[in-house]
Symmetry: C2
Subunit: 396 residues, 2 copies
């Protein structure tokens, strides 16, 4: 059996990969209501000041702060209410010394007023209020442009849109938003040993239930892509080659699982000119990439690691996504030994500031993925971490 | 203006709410490929052992470990290869002392063999291999049921399904999964001051661009629900009342924004018998709930806080979701003062183990939500936290 002549270091392979890919050009203008989780295609500047004018931040009385400076509970200041408005209305009154206008949160500040007294701080009798405490100039006023200024970049290109981002866009007048087209990601699953229906006899004869398809499809969806599933293929060179060719013309990226090593039946690497084949990652060493095609392992845990270490970043590059990972600091609950020369992907359970490595090993052990909620990376030059070390966990 | 006679403490209100809601009964059986993010309706037990038999964890030679105990590089042990199989095939050969079977990762262990020598550890010549190092019994063997045992609960009711969960299900023979029906969540937006088209004149007259609809719709989607949007209504008592009635018959939960306080135009609370109205949360105090209807604020930041502190947990209860929050430990980068008697929702930016409070205040300041990626809760009995305190951040 041929072995890899050289394992490309993880970072070097990742750079080769990312340098080889270009951001998707196409932009889609879609309704805000459909934009959750999509990636902003360009910087967005606000077309308006928000608030568009100085307005009250509370329900209360707009007044001249100077009038209240001497107000005390035992010696209240009396002001005359000259107008009362409700939300969405505007007072035309002019506040002069000794007067006030009753208004609502969000109401435009009437001319002459420079502060608002909270409703519950005033005693009212007819059109007279008694102010019990002084109010400072500017108090309870939301100033023009205080939330967002006209022309200000409020959301940057590459932002993965969240509910609050969509609310901000709607609140300054947008009804649609320009996002990147979802990259189409072809998925080709190969292997003579794979079956798709539960069949105990076949399992006893050494067959394996195929599970990479649904894992990759949902990972691709989670990370901005549109999966295109081409099916499960036995190790038939010609069929696999023609399917890869077809997928390359139809997709932005193609993932092929199985056949990534150099076994007798591992031939996927013959069909693409690879930029790297065999990297220092563990698990998942026999990963290859070239011509927008990933040759991945057949073992689910290795595929999962290869996806997070390479494919996820490739998808983010394709759409220009910025904030696509949740990275948290954690204290290791147990030591993790690591092999020098390998970039290890270690599954952990993160909870309450602590990360506990999942001990189950073996690339076939899918339950180890289910029992984890994140991973730690241990680079080639480290022999691992000790209990109590502070590490970065990427949550999934 | 009437004020709240009593603010219900946050925890008490939350308990009243959750006790009032029952889990959705209906279960949908859907294809695995559509199940990402859905909530498992029942415990799932594995119908098979996985692996279904003892199998090799590497490409190599199945042999009797005892034969290799004396193997050294300067004094190799020679074994005769009596069979060779590829992935998905089964060897019928019986391994006896002095013999070995070549197999692939995942191959069933042939009778008589109790360990596997990694391919690269053997020197081969014709049908003879030279073993250079001893192998321990059980080495490189994945034992029957090691990943998952037949009958074992592999995923619990309430699990929010992730890519790896779907892969595990597929890998043990499932093609569909039973998930809870998505709760239908009615959204009714009220307020005379709201406009839906950017109109500078209207804004100058005190109108406000409506933004709660898209925020709530996407939050509901994010947390397991199916939003049903009923529209934006001016403060017309009759129309709002009839819409709430209609939504109650069509939905599992109804969210009404605007009109939650006791202003002249705040009447939504008249149409439902509320279990609580006015709670200690800040922002968002004037929240009310009863008869499966939430009366929420009109101000986006308050609505956002009310959603996370109440509605999110209500939705999780409706579907029985367990792992629906990402909670991380963080060190405060700045002190946060908090008012005694208020359960404060403090927006923060979490990064690299540190949480920095977002200073912008005011319930109209949507940009403060955009600049944050999580929140801290400060309960009623706390005056806040100091710089350097360790706190829990819920990421969003």
């Amino acid at each position: 059996m041929r072995e890899f002549k050289r394992l490309t270091p993880y970072r070097e392979a990742l750079r080769l990969l990312l340098d080889d890919l270009s951001e998707v050009d196409e932009v889609e203008e879609i309704p805000l209501k459909e934009a959750l989780g999509r990636v902003l295609a360009e910087d967005v500047a606000s077309p308006i000041d928000s608030p568009p004018f100085d307005r009250s931040a509370v329900d209360g009385y707009a007044l001249r702060a100077e009038d209240t400076f001497s107000a005390r509970e035992y010696s209240p200041v009396e002001l005359r209410v000259i107008d009362e408005i409700v939300a969405g209305e505007e007072s035309k009154a002019k506040v002069e010394s000794g007067t006030a206008v009753k208004l609502m949160t969000g109401s435009k500040m009437p001319e002459g007023a420079n502060a608002v007294l909270m409703q519950e701080m005033a005693e009212r009798e007819g059109d007279i209020i008694r102010v019990l405490r002084p109010v400072a100039p500017g108090q309870n006023v939301a100033f023009k442009g205080e939330d967002v200024k006209k022309g200000e970049i409020i959301l940057g290109k590459g932002q993965v849109l969240r509910p609050q981002d969509l609310a901000l866009l709607k609140g300054i007048g947008f009804k649609t938003v320009k996002v990147k087209r979802k990259p189409r990601v072809g998925i080709i699953v190969t292997g003579d040993e794979l079956i798709e229906e539960l069949n105990e006899e076949a399992l006893k004869a050494g067959k394996i239930l195929e599970s990479n398809s649904v894992m990759l499809e949902s990972l691709v969806r989670k990370y901005f892509g549109e999966p295109v599933f081409y099916g499960v293929f036995p190790d038939d060179e010609e069929k696999i080659q023609s399917t890869i060719e077809k997928a390359k013309t139809e997709c932005d990226l193609v993932l092929v699982t199985g056949g990534s090593a150099f076994g007798e039946k591992d031939f996927a690497h013959k069909f693409v000119k690879l930029l790297f084949h065999g990297t220092t990652i563990k698990p998942g060493r026999p990963v290859g990439y070239g011509e927008r095609v990933f040759i991945m392992s057949g073992y689910p845990v290795a595929v999962f690691a290869q996806f997070h270490l390479y494919v996820k970043h490739a998808l983010a590059k394709l759409v220009g996504a910025k904030n696509y990972e949740v990275r948290v600091k954690a204290t290791l609950a147990e030591r993790i030994p690591s092999q020098l020369g390998r970039h290890e992907f270690v599954k952990v359970w993160y909870e309450n500031g602590k990360a506990r490595p999942i001990k189950k090993k073996g690339s076939g052990i899918i339950s180890s993925l289910v029992e984890s909620n994140g991973y730690i990376e241990i680079p080639e030059d480290s022999e691992g971490y000790l209990e109590g070390n502070v590490v970065i966990v990427v949550l999934y």
